[in-house]
């Protein structure tokens, strides 16, 4: 009990966040080696795959660069500014951190659903989905503005009184759990786990471009949110990874910017101001009514 309820300092929480994140990153390389072995044994190894892995880590580098230079300070600043207006003061111990992780997981669900269903957010999140492969390196494939997207969704937790450091930790924790799901190496886990937790099987579905699998399984740690809110699909047919309209190119530049390029094109070629706004805020497949677009895809 003492361990669970003992008060933690901000620096301890921050330390744990860095510790877990860094070691998982190193672990991911070891795991990637195993996955390469698996690809090799199944004779699925190709230059395309290797190029894709490089592209994934280059987008990660670009993402970290953008976060470091532009978003990071802003994000932290907003959190601490908002925390001044928190309605409660929630103490920091492992019990409250655990609660914060569960709540951050709900917020993650909505943030993720938003990223898929609002075109301007999809322009950045599409990068993560543009790989035709599925291994742990894909988890590190990020879009240019993936770092700012979560901000409005986690502010409520700070406003309710969670310490900003705890919210950062919880965000990171959900993200890191998600990272581990990017693999074809595991089939399905026992039923009880598949019912409650998000698993590699559920997340493969999320990355599928199969019609049945589109816009499904947004969950982070728990899959129950998808089951509750009607966005769940079970893995049945074989998953075809990637986008409905694949990017076809493997280079990091195309991968990183294709979302905003496509969005820009769509907005540019759509006629009428309201239709242009519609292109930004409606789901990705949305077309203005009674109007033929002249864009060629």
């Amino acid at each position: 009990m003492k361990l669970i309820f003992n008060q933690l300092t901000d620096m301890e929480i921050y330390g744990w966040e860095a510790f877990i994140g860094d070691w998982l990153f190193i672990f991911s390389f070891a795991f990637l080696a195993l996955e390469f072995l698996r690809y090799g044994l199944r004779e699925k190894m190709s230059w395309g795959l290797i190029g894709d892995v490089f592209t994934n880590y280059i987008t990660l580098g670009a993402f970290i660069g953008i976060n470091y230079l532009i978003i990071g300070g802003f994000y932290v600043g907003v959190f601490f500014y908002v925390s001044e207006y928190a309605i409660w003061t929630i103490e920091t111990n492992w019990a409250t951190v655990a609660i914060c992780i569960i709540l951050a997981d709900i917020m993650y669900y909505w943030q993720h659903r938003f990223a898929h269903r609002v075109n301007v957010a999809w322009a950045t999140h599409t990068v993560h989905h543009s790989s035709p492969h599925f291994n742990i390196s894909v988890a590190y494939r990020f879009g240019p503005l993936d770092g700012v997207l979560p901000l409005p969704f986690y502010i409520p937790l700070v406003l309710l009184g969670f310490n900003p450091f705890v919210v950062f930790f919880a965000e990171m924790f959900v993200q890191l759990y998600q990272t581990l799901l990017h693999t074809e190496g595991f089939g399905k886990f026992p039923r009880i786990i598949e019912k409650v937790m998000n698993t590699p099987s559920h997340h493969r579905v999320h990355h599928g471009s199969n019609n049945k699998y589109l816009d499904k399984n947004y969950g982070g740690i728990f899959i129950i949110w998808d089951r509750m809110f009607g966005t769940f699909a079970e893995e049945k047919e074989e998953v075809v990874y990637g986008l409905v309209t694949p990017i076809k190119r493997n280079d990091p530049f195309s991968a990183f910017f294709h979302g905003f390029y496509r969005l820009g094109q769509k907005v540019f070629y759509t006629k009428g101001l309201f239709n242009k706004i519609g292109c930004l805020i409606m789901p990705p497949g949305w077309e203005p009514a009674h109007q033929k677009r002249q864009i060629k895809q």
């Binding site: 009990m1 300092t9 620096m11 709540l103 937790l157 809110f229």
Partner: protein, 186 residues
């Protein structure tokens, strides 16, 4: 895709869970009463062994352990740099309630170098302890009030908000290391 109605219901359910969960966390205070026995015959002679003026870093617990027989705490959130932080440790309910200086287990004046001060007491007994402190900004040795409200920084164990006046039981902490916050109304 779920219908619009389902989506709105989903958002409503999520909002309830998030607010409910946060309230649960708010009602879940950090533990501070894990020492139950109190040896009244223990020595009153507390000595200040160490005053560390730095923010605790991750890993401090492992590399610089506070031994189980020390009472140690860090006061965070010191916003103004003038004056000294005056720390008082009480060991019984009556002296705590009456702010009786004769009932103090320990009294210390700490200078401020950064936003936090850390102090640790050796041989102070087993507790429980109730701690109060204030930032003596004008150097008069007392917490200065304007009307009913302090105009200097203040705080103590068991104080969740600047307005709480915890009982000795609520305020009591055991040996080990603790974190407290300095509150300011002005």
């Amino acid at each position: 895709m779920p219908s619009f109605k389902q989506t709105v219901a989903g958002i409503a359910v999520s909002t309830v869970i998030v607010i409910g969960g946060a309230y649960m966390a708010y009602e879940m205070p950090s533990i501070s009463e894990y020492v139950v026995s109190y040896d009244s015959s223990s020595s009153n002679a507390a000595t200040v062994s160490e005053i560390v003026r730095e923010t605790p870093e991750f890993g401090d617990v492992a590399t610089n352990p506070v031994s189980g027989s020390d009472l140690s705490f860090t006061i965070h959130g010191i916003e103004r740099s003038y004056g000294k932080v005056i720390v008082m440790v009480y060991g019984d309910e009556d002296s705590y309630r009456n702010y009786d200086p004769n009932g103090l287990l320990a009294y210390e004046e700490l200078s401020i170098n950064s936003g936090t001060v850390t102090v640790s007491f050796e041989n102070i007994g087993e507790g429980p302890f109730a701690i109060t402190f204030f930032q003596d900004e004008d150097g008069n040795g007392d917490l200065t009030l304007q009307g009913e409200y302090p105009i200097e920084g203040y705080g103590g164990s068991g104080m969740k908000t600047p307005y709480s006046e915890p009982s000795f039981e609520k305020a009591s902490v055991g040996l080990g290391s603790h974190n407290f916050k300095m509150h300011y109304l002005k």
